[in-house]
């Protein structure tokens, strides 16, 4: 195991991916704390600039889920 703790920004659609993350919570599914969700009405709102800014700020990964 390395100490690498990647910071991941997840842009999530309210109607599906955000809901799925809620359900993952209800089911107590465990995942790393380094994933943080930014809620959008629709993943179609994600602009390439949002992804680039995340990397610029130091994110190790970006997840767009919708």
């Amino acid at each position: 195991m390395t100490d690498f703790d990647p910071q991941i920004v997840a842009f999530c659609c309210t109607h599906c991916a955000y809901n799925a993350a809620d359900l993952a919570g209800s089911l107590r599914l465990q995942y790393p704390t380094s994933i943080k969700i930014v809620q959008l009405l629709c993943s179609g709102r994600v602009d390439i600039l949002h992804i680039l800014r995340s990397f610029e700020d130091g994110a190790d990964g970006v997840l767009v889920a919708g």
């Binding site: 993350a21 107590r28 930014v38 179609g44 600039l49």
Partner: protein, 1531 residues
């Protein structure tokens, strides 16, 4: 009414009654149909009561994994509906409720409903789940179809609406019922099983302050009542109780907090035995000062001085007594109450006499008072008070100094006699015991007598005692006895003994102990004290109140009952305490009777059935370990040694949890909202409504009843619904299809179709099983490509839109193997758990062979049934149901039950899938809206808010509210630390933590804080905004803030729950999530909406049945309708139909329908008219209509497209080239002309009549699936062909009718036509698609050659007519019309709905709807229902006065727009337009415009616009990126 009785009249709403109807509707059933009907009604201005018998709405659809044919996640599609229904201001959800009866008339019904107790207050519960976490009762989870477990306190499923828990309780378990003190044995047993011993002790002490004592000496009637005793052995409850005390008492006793004295009235209790102590505990806890007077030097009464040490160690008694005394009870030992009156003189307000029965009885026989004769109670007491301690020589003497005997005889056979005998044995004597009763009928417990014998006591049974023999010196030397032949007690309790003559004999002993009974010592009660005494020397009381004859004096325990068991003393102590409290408070003494829960008694047969089903394993009780016999009589050491943890848990596991909830009260103690109420009772209420919609749904066939399938016997046989749960990512296996027997992946899976459909006991097709099996098979393969799936079926009924293609993909692409047969047997291999399926494999033309295959898992595709409770509902409402319980409705009024004003929808009418159920629901909403139109908006509610505060000039002032959510967040991260951190974030001026932020008081508190602190933005860090944001937004609106000034941080679902094993990391992430939310809060801006007035008229395109029905439905609702038909007459395809499937004349119906439309003043009929142009958006359309008189404009708020379909005409099978080849419609017309002998038909019919010589043909062949229908299923052809086949068989029974088919797709009750056709002699020949029939029309005779699969041969037919079941196709111009209205069509040219499952009559663009065959081929009744549904959806728009525009919508800045069309192309809703009246970059005319009333706010255009000319309110780039920056760059 049945079809025939009602169908030939078209029922319109009677508007002659001017009494205003009630503007409320009851919808029964909270599944997808109930929700849809509720939403469509509430949105039209009616108040809806949605009744659901379960604890949450959602129905079966919530249980499904995916839905066919789109493979959408069922929960993802249903959950927005759940939330919308749950939050709708005009929908009252009544869960746990059943309809009892309906009285009244259409428009004004009184519905009686039964509200079942939930035991959790819905108003208070916030859904935190703490109750379920502590509930010890484990039950199978019905939501997961029994594949996993849940607790008695539970939520139906994670997304349940209402988001609240419920407790499942059947009644009172028999163990509790049998216990005089009502001990919750089931509860503490469940807690022992969980290893929660302190909680178990707490549960015992709820009802009994003496757990350790009762765990040893109680007579445990609970065990006699235990249901488990019916099949093996009762639970060893006493041993388990004792075990709990052993565990807890192994630690040092912690002093109990003294009770707070809040009352001034004083209570005296005489006697510190179990009864007096129990009453003292109860009364001091109520705040009363209590004094106990005890004559003995020790407390504990008979427990302490009557029960030998080896049965009940002193330390246990002292510990449990101390727990009571610690409360602050004033105990006065060695204090004999001489006179009752003195106590009142001393100022006591009430006195409880609980003196027990300590006076032993000496039998009135000669010699009874000789030396050496002892009395049981005194003997036991003296031993217990150490007065029989051996002297220095080891000699045991009586307290008076005389030596204790060497040979002792105990007279009596009760438990006390045994105690005396075993005690004497321990003092070193040779002990005998003589009793009246036979050895096997002694009054003591059998095991007590056994133990005594094992310890050397000689028992002389069947003896009566004549005298004690004197040795001449006043010392007893034995007892003269007779043997008893027979004895009995007369009705007054007097003994009559018949002795054996000449049996007198002497039992020689030196000490005799009488143990023949005890009674109370009541000498302290003077004769004039006013306290009555009975003949039996007990105190006379009212047994309901324990009140003696003198006011203020109460008596309980042995002093009123005679000797009894300790648990009875406890029970009567509780009862006395309750009465004393009532007396002191001045209440009437007798409490009102509480409604009693039923006792849950099982029958032996029920339990044996559970054993047979494998739900329950037989297992004998775990015996209590005991001291070996050898060591026992050497000491007074306890004989029973108690359970170990392992033994206790093993025994506890045997409990059947009979009552489900055991009332252990764990939930009550944990609930931070005080929401649990175990005393809730069932209530009956009345609801006044104008109409009732029944949407009770179906139940799956209980396949256990078909034993040949092995469900319940073989663990690896599951139902399709169980498989849905296995496939579901939120199911018991997280989506892995594992075998229930060994949890290993199932790699070879068989589906058995038609289980509970199309068989002897079900004459119908369940309509959904073929497709759900295909979907489940595909999902299995998607999940595990190595899995093999084999489906055994009769026909593939893929009859609806997209279904045939789905089936073909399943078969060809996913390689699902389909075999057409019913299996011949199914057996389990007991070694492996595999299932051996035997079946006939079809080799096509080569015949069939029997084969066997082993499968890992067998799935039963169970059909739909109507449950007994729904049948009962139908009966109590007086609705006619068929023999299966389905509610048949008339073909021309398909939603109307036999009771006017009561409508039926969904599978309750006929088995059907989700889209058709949704269509039914909307259709019923239209019927109801027509009936209740005058009362629209009469009972609706609207939300009121104060005027909005202008914060434009204010700096951000953010308030953060961090929620503990009970222990859901607070248990896993440091909430106060997180709140403190939040308080220091930029812009945050206030942060606090709350136990439950969503509770009503906290919501009000947020409003107050916004006002008090001048907050202008609020962040709530709690759960999901999807469920909770609207609630909090309401709270800030109530304080005058714009609801957009709100942000949530989801620190529960995204943090505490998913990082529950790392407190520090979870705390850190919660801070980050709040930092992100607070940063965004700083950037939020108010969002404002405007309103746009709407046009309230409707435009309907198409004057067939669908268009006319929709028009009538809207007109009945009071809306003006423009009905456009391009032909000269109304009627559409119905004009060509001559027969219906149930002998009803379509022409008569059509005539009636056209007349109704023509007579309806609100309908403007425009025949020979077309729509030339249409523009606008929902609520504001403008269309130009063109007819002979020139163009004219119509303004309308909604549009319904009902342009119908047309019969396909192609050249397949020599159609067009051979006159004997006809289409189905042509055949129907010629047949009708022959039957009715009419010649006034069209030219085609005329020529056919000429060909046939006006005679019905002798031989007819029909071919199904013609032309385009080879790739899509036209749905109605099978039913139509059978209808026509039956028609010709009726006209000419000897005619030979042969149907060549691939599948017969008679879904639902259409299956009955198939049965009738076979019975009528119609011949069915199956061909396969690779070998379609060939027509040879070269000679005079028409010859058809076909390879017939089901007869394994090549056949040649020579019919007079070949009837082609040509499919229904979109009409000419359908594609152009779709372009004109900017609506999508599918690949076959039919209109494409917004969502196949849940929006079946909507288009993606709002305000336009579809109905009838323009959507897809459908039968007449289906078109009628869909037309009503479209009318209801349109009425949702038309019923509004204005539309809301704006909100979270995209807005174009035209000055940046280059008109590149990117937005126009990417918008999924076709909203952006390039409009001429906007100027773009450089002042060029034409820029994009996004209509705010129809924009959905998805932001696709914003992200794609290359010029960054489009903004999305609330999701500006800055408002998104600020979260990224806050996360990664810090605050």
């Amino acid at each position: 009414m049945t079809d025939g009785a009602q169908a030939d009249t078209l029922k319109l709403v009677d508007r002659s009654d001017d009494r205003a109807p009630v503007g409320a509707v009851m919808v029964v059933g909270g599944g997808i149909a109930g929700m849809q009907a509720s939403l469509d009604l509430a949105d039209q201005g009616f108040r809806v009561y949605l009744v659901e018998s379960k604890s949450a709405i959602g129905g079966h659809m919530a249980q499904l994994d995916k839905t066919f044919p789109t493979n959408d996640c069922a929960m993802c599609t249903i959950s927005p509906k759940l939330v919308e229904t749950g939050r709708h201001l005009n929908i009252d959800i009544l869960v746990d409720t059943e309809v009892v009866k309906v009285d009244g008339t259409p428009g004004n019904f009184n519905v009686t409903v039964k509200r079942k107790p939930r035991y959790i207050d819905l108003e208070k519960c916030v859904g935190c789940g703490d109750c379920a976490d502590v509930c010890p009762v484990i039950l199978p989870d019905p939501f997961n179809e029994g594949l996993s477990s849940r607790r008695a306190a539970h939520k139906l499923y994670p997304q349940a609406v209402p988001n609240a828990f419920t407790i499942e309780k059947l009644g009172v378990s028999p163990c509790r019922d049998a216990c005089p003190a009502g001990q919750r044995a089931q509860g503490y047993i469940a807690l022992i099983h969980e290893g929660r011993y302190d909680d178990a002790l707490r549960v015992i002490k709820e009802d009994n302050p003496f757990p350790g004592i009762c765990g040893r000496i109680c007579n445990h009637r609970c065990e006699d009542a235990c249901n488990r005793g019916l099949i093996d052995e009762p639970i060893n409850i006493r041993a388990l109780k004792r075990f709990v005390t052993d565990k807890v008492y192994s630690a040092e006793r912690q002093p109990v907090e003294p009770a707070e004295i809040t009352q001034d009235k004083r209570i005296a209790i005489i006697g510190a035995g179990p009864c007096g102590l129990t009453a003292a505990q109860d009364l001091i806890r109520l705040g009363y000062p209590v004094t106990i007077f005890e004559a003995l030097p020790v407390a504990g009464g008979m427990l302490r001085v009557g029960v030998p040490e080896y049965r009940l160690p002193t330390e246990i008694i002292e510990r449990e007594v101390a727990d009571i005394l610690d409360l602050g009870v004033d105990l006065r030992l060695n204090t004999v109450v001489e006179d009752l009156d003195e106590l009142f003189d001393q100022g006591f307000d009430a006195v409880l006499i609980a003196v027990g029965a300590h006076e032993g009885i000496r039998l009135p026989i000669p010699g009874a008072d000789l030396d050496g004769v002892l009395i049981n109670t005194r003997f036991l007491r003296d031993v217990r008070l150490d007065r029989y301690e051996p002297d220095e020589n080891g000699q045991v003497t009586n307290p008076d100094g005389s030596p204790f005997g060497e040979r002792v005889l105990v007279l009596g056979g009760g438990n006390v006699a045994i105690d005396c005998a075993r005690t004497a044995a321990r003092l070193g004597a040779e002990v005998h015991l003589a009793c009246l009763e036979p050895r096997d009928a002694m009054p003591c417990h059998g095991w007590e007598a056994d133990a005594a014998e094992q310890e050397g006591v000689t028992i002389h049974a069947d003896r009566t005692f004549l005298r004690v023999v004197d040795d001449g010196r006043g010392q007893a030397l034995g007892v003269e006895c007779s043997s008893v032949a027979h004895f009995e007690f007369d009705h007054e309790g007097r003994l009559a003994v018949e002795t054996v003559p000449g049996s007198e004999h002497l039992i020689e002993v030196d000490t005799i102990i009488f143990s023949v009974g005890q009674r109370a010592g009541l000498a302290f009660i003077p004769d004039d004290a006013g306290v009555g005494i009975t003949h039996q020397r007990t105190i006379a009381i009212n047994p309901n109140t324990m009140a003696a004859t003198r006011p203020g004096v109460f008596a309980a325990g042995d002093s009123v009952s005679g000797t009894a068991f300790v648990i009875e003393a406890v029970a009567s102590g509780h009862q006395a305490a309750e009465s004393i409290q009532r007396y002191l408070e001045g209440d009437k003494l007798e409490a009102d009777a509480r409604p009693e829960l039923p006792v849950v008694k099982f029958s032996r047969a029920e339990l044996q059935a559970r054993v047979a089903r494998g739900e329950l394993a037989l297992k004998n009780r775990v015996p209590m370990p005991e001291l070996p016999i050898e060591g026992r009589i050497d000491s007074f050491a306890e004989v029973e040694r108690g359970y170990t943890d392992e033994l206790a848990q093993e025994e506890a596991e045997r409990c059947l949890a009979c009552a489900l909830c055991s009332e252990c009260l764990s939930c009550v103690y944990i609930c931070g909202r005080d929401a649990i109420d175990h005393d809730m009772v069932e209530r009956t209420e009345q609801v006044n409504v104008g109409a009732v919609v029944l949407a009770p749904g179906y139940q799956i066939y209980r396949a256990e009843l078909s034993q040949e399938y092995g469900l319940g016997r073989y663990p690896n046989v599951v139902t399709a619904l169980q498989l849905e749960r296995l496939l579901s990512a939120s199911g018991p296996t997280q989506g892995h299809v594992n075998r229930p027997s060994d949890d290993q992946p199932a790699r070879k899976i068989a589906f058995l179709q038609c289980v509970g459909s199309r068989d002897q006991s079900h004459d119908y097709c369940s309509a959904v099983c073929c497709m759900y099996a295909a979907k489940e098979a595909v999902m299995i393969r998607e999940h595990d490509p190595q899995a093999q799936v084999h489906v055994f079926m009769m026909d593939m009924r893929a009859f609806s839109k997209g279904y045939e293609g789905y089936y073909q993909r399943a078969r060809d692409q996913y390689e699902i193997e389909y075999t057409r047969c019913r299996i011949s047997s199914l057996k389990e291999d007991p070694e492996t758990g595999d299932l051996i399926v035997r079946y006939a494999r079809d080799l096509g033309i080569e015949g069939a062979v029997m084969e066997e295959q082993a499968f890992d898992l067998v799935v039963l595709s169970v059909g739909m049934e109507i449950s007994d409770s729904v049948k009962g509902l139908g009966q109590s409402l007086g609705i006619e149901l068929d023999e299966y319980g389905f509610c048949h409705t008339p073909i021309f009024d398909p939603l109307q039950t036999s009771q006017p004003g009561i409508y039926a929808v969904g599978p309750f009418r006929e088995p059907k899938d989700i889209p058709e159920t949704v269509v039914d629901a909307s259709g019923a909403a239209a019927d109801v809206a027509g009936l209740l139109a005058p009362a629209r908006f009469s009972l609706t509610r609207t939300a009121e808010y104060p005027p909005e505060r202008d914060i434009a000039e204010e700096e951000p002032r953010v308030g953060v509210f961090v929620c503990h959510c009970g222990s859901n967040i607070g248990g896993f991260l440091e909430v106060p630390e997180v709140a403190e951190y939040a308080g220091n974030l930029p812009g945050v001026i206030h942060a606090e933590d709350n136990l439950y932020t969503c509770s009503q008081d906290s919501i009000a508190h947020i409003t107050e804080q916004v006002e008090a602190l001048g907050l202008n933005r609020v962040v709530v860090a709690s759960c999901s905004p999807i469920t909770h944001a609207p609630l909090f937004q309401d709270s800030i609106r109530a304080a005058g803030l714009n609801p957009a000034m709100f942000e949530m941080a989801n620190i529960r679902n995204q943090c505490s729950w998913v990082h529950s094993n790392d407190r520090a990391a979870a705390t850190g992430k919660a801070k980050e999530l709040i930092r992100m939310a607070a940063a965004r809060a700083n950037t939020l801006l108010p969002i404002h909406t405007t309103t746009v007035p709407i046009y309230n008229d409707a435009l309907i395109v198409g004057g067939g049945v669908a268009g006319m029905t929709a028009a009538l439905s809207l007109a009945q609702g009071g809306y003006v309708v423009h009905l456009v038909e391009r032909e000269a007459t109304l009627g559409g395809n119905l004009r060509h139909l001559r027969y219906s499937s149930n002998d009803i004349d379509p022409a008569a119906f059509l005539e009636q329908l056209v007349t109704s439309v023509e007579e309806e003043p609100l309908i403007h009929i425009h025949t020979q008219t077309q729509v030339a142009k249409t523009s606008g958006f929902m609520g504001r359309f403008i269309s130009t209509l063109q007819n002979g008189g020139g163009p004219f404009e119509v303004k309308h708020g909604a549009t319904i497209l009902a342009t119908g379909g047309t019969e396909y005409r192609g050249n397949e099978y020599s159609y067009g080239s051979n006159p004997r080849v006809v289409t189905g419609l042509e055949f129907e017309n010629v047949l009708a002309a022959i039957e009715h002998n009419t010649r006034e038909s069209d030219a085609r019919t005329q020529s056919l009549l000429d060909l046939l010589g006006d005679q019905a043909p002798d031989e007819i062949a029909m071919v199904l699936c013609v032309g385009p229908a080879e790739s899509f299923c036209s749905r109605i052809c099978c039913t139509t062909a059978l209808k026509n086949a039956l028609a010709i068989k009726r006209i000419k029974p000897e005619a030979r009718v042969t149907i060549l088919f691939k599948d017969i797709r008679t879904y639902g009750f259409k299956e009955r036509l198939y049965t009738q056709a076979r019975e009528a002699g119609v011949i069915f020949l199956r061909y396969d698609e690779d070998n379609r029939p060939e027509v040879d029309a070269s000679g005079d005779q028409l010859m058809i050659r076909a390879r017939v699969i089901n007869l394994d041969r090549q056949m040649t037919l020579t019919p007079d007519l070949l009837v082609l079941s040509n499919p229904v196709m979109p009409p000419d111009g359908a594609r152009e019309m779709a372009t004109q209205f900017k609506v999508p069509i599918d690949k076959d040219g039919f209109l494409l709905e917004a969502h196949v499952k849940l929006r079946p009559v909507d288009f993606p663009s709002d305000g336009i709807f579809m109905a009838g065959m323009a959507h897809y081929p459908k039968l007449l009744d289906e078109s009628i229902v869909q037309a009503k549904a479209a009318a209801a959806r349109a009425a949702r728009v038309l019923s509004k006065k204005q539309l809301t525009a704006g909100g979270i919508v995209a807005q174009v800045d035209p000055s940046l727009c280059v008109g590149c069309l990117t937005c126009v192309r990417v918008c999924p809703f076709d909203v952006p337009l390039i409009v001429a009246d906007q100027d773009g970059v450089g002042g060029i005319h034409g820029a994009a415009f996004i209509e705010p009333t129809v924009c959905q706010g998805c932001g696709n255009c914003v992200a794609e616009c290359p010029a960054k000319a489009i903004h999305l309110a609330h999701y500006e780039d800055e408002q998104i990126l600020v979260k990224v920056d806050a996360l990664l760059l810090g605050a």
